[in-house]
Symmetry: C2
Subunit: 376 residues, 2 copies
């Protein structure tokens, strides 16, 4: 347990087991294709910034006709450096400073693609259902201050950066969206994706703020591979994952903000299942810590964001537990050729019978749909 009373990392419990038991637990829970990746310089910097870091390498197989396509991703999870009760400008500046530190660690770790958690540049204030002052954080995806700030860092470090923000679309009636902006390694905005599925669960009724996204399932062709972003609650939707795969994604990032009581037993399942079913790598990223809001003359705490970033390969192997309580950068290196190798091995795409399901869904959405039920 950490000082907050929260378990720090599931794997610290497994560390208490005998080595032969650990091997069995990790084989069954995590698969066998993940090794540690040594990142000595990055570790030194991370220590000075008080950011946890862990690196993993997924074992690849060489091919005769294709060279390996190694890529390193960085998945950053963080707490708010300042509480939501402090002035908005101070909060954002503190988050920018933290981001700069995290990206400098990632650069030292030779990360090619860096991804933040959902709505990283603000408190996760959607739980409050108050519009202001929180919507002051909303900004243009293409030319807002956060995108501009990260474009400079992307250029400087030759790094693709996925920037998940509350978007304000001034051209179309000032409406807001939950959006991920892809900034390429030259500092240019390659495009954006708007969250497809919006939760209405307990305190997470985000439909107060933004509607279901209208950007389809774009895959962004970067110099380091074809990537897509399945934002937070979209991870509960297998069809959302499926369409990113059909459009050619090799890595799908899942920037999230979710709390322990709501979703923790689901966390290790959904992004991992998506990697298996669709033959791509998935990167699950979650916010950390508790956020206490000044509401109705009192303070409200919506629960503990449990971090626990992890990466899954198409063969189902995954990185072990990551911090549940601390700011942290999870680095993973893998060969994108693995995607096709695993698809060839398992044949899920070949055997998926998409034509059958295209027909079935066309039928299912009809108002007079009759389910296939067999009665006596």
């Amino acid at each position: 347990m950490s000082g907050s009373g929260e378990l720090e990392n599931l794997d610290r419990i497994f560390d208490k087991l005998a080595v032969e038991d650990q091997i069995q637990v990790k084989r069954i829970l995590y698969g066998t294709n993940v090794k540690s990746l040594d990142l000595p310089e990055a570790k030194d910097i991370a220590k000075t910034y008080n950011i946890e870091i862990a690196g993993y390498h997924f074992m690849g197989k060489s091919e005769h006709l294709r060279a390996p396509r190694l890529v390193r991703i960085g998945a950053f999870q963080n707490k708010l450096p300042l509480p939501p009760t402090t002035p908005i400008t101070d909060q954002r500046n503190a988050l920018y400073k933290l981001a700069e530190n995290a990206i400098s660690i990632a650069a030292q770790a030779k990360v090619n693609i860096f991804c933040f958690q959902e709505a990283w540049n603000m408190p996760f204030a959607f739980c409050t259902r108050e519009k202001q002052p929180w919507c002051e954080y909303a900004e243009s995806a293409e030319s807002g201050p956060t995108t501009k700030f990260l474009q400079e860092l992307a250029r400087q470090h030759n790094m693709v950066i996925i920037n998940s923000i509350l978007e304000r679309d001034e051209i179309h009636g000032d409406v807001m969206w939950n959006t991920s902006v892809v900034i390429d390694n030259h500092g240019d905005v390659l495009g954006k994706h708007r969250k497809n599925h919006i939760p209405r669960v307990g305190d997470f009724n985000e439909s107060m703020y933004y509607m279901e996204g209208n950007t389809g399932h774009p895959v962004f062709e970067t110099e380091f591979g074809k990537i897509a972003i399945n934002i937070c609650y979209g991870r509960h939707h297998p069809l959302n994952w499926l369409m990113f795969g059909i459009n050619g994604a090799e890595i799908v990032f899942n920037p999230s903000a979710t709390i322990g009581n709501l979703s923790e037993p689901l966390w290790g399942i959904e992004a991992r299942n998506a990697a298996i079913a669709n033959g791509y790598f998935t990167v699950a990223i979650n916010r950390v810590g508790t956020e206490v809001y000044p509401m109705e003359d009192t303070l409200k705490n919506f629960g503990h964001f449990y971090g626990s970033n992890y990466v899954t390969a198409p063969d189902g192997s995954r990185t072990p537990g990551f911090s549940r309580t601390k700011d942290g950068l999870l680095v993973a290196e893998f060969d994108l050729n693995t995607c096709r190798q695993v698809r060839d091995h398992w044949g899920f795409q070949m055997t998926q019978r998409l034509d059958l399901y295209a027909r079935s869904l066309q039928n299912a959405i009809k108002p007079d749909f009759v389910p296939q039920i067999i009665r006596k």
Copy 2:
């Protein structure tokens, strides 16, 4: 480790941890809504038959307008009682005897719906790619000896029995199918389902024996709830799970036969993800042990079938590890009202945008489909 050198049960490792650590591990890995179910009489009989038994109860919530709809399922995993080298008739008789024992234990445990593993009444000989003598096991779904044998037991014990066999369709050219027959609690054949997705993976090239099923995604309305069967390799296909849900399934059984080196890190993920995404209970059942075949004047072993049956509720909570090496009956009791309660809570069905995906899939299956890729 058991005598076979195989780990007996993942949870026996967790048992070595301190109690407070076990609580954390189980909360994160399994969720918190599962309690032990006491089955004293059934346990006594199970002991005499040398069959492992475990019972669990999923915590439900009461409603004002609907009475609880409690159901007990039994998921039976087993080794071959006699090796594939013995005469076919002896093998089948020994399996029938084992089935009779297992069903009598289930009756004592007040099981309403009993499900066998895939192709339970024969060795999993599809790995051999030899047609004979193995195809002698194929039989009519409606009137073959195995169905007749189980009809009598279903009637006797007022129990629905899911009977997964190699089907021979004599009316349509003698072709074979991988089929689950649903026998209702009055002993009548309610219907059948043929495996929708056929593996072509390593030694599991079952397409030698049968083609992709032509029975759609039927849901069988029994006196104990609406059930469906996703046979083995179909668990890798989220769309297959989806359609059973759309057709109204409350419990989906996944009778399987899969080995450790191929699939074990995926086993705990896929059926569980399906329960979460679709708001129904899933029951994953796997064969046990090794099967050694006389091939080309020698013996061939295709690997260890690792059992590990488990049940998942729509909220993602699941039963803990079950035996990896022994014949076993996993009993679970739950309230079918949970399905709608969880759907109301999470809203996955309300937010799933089926119309969007019906259009997307119609588009994706076109030969001239252009993926949504954003390039500079």
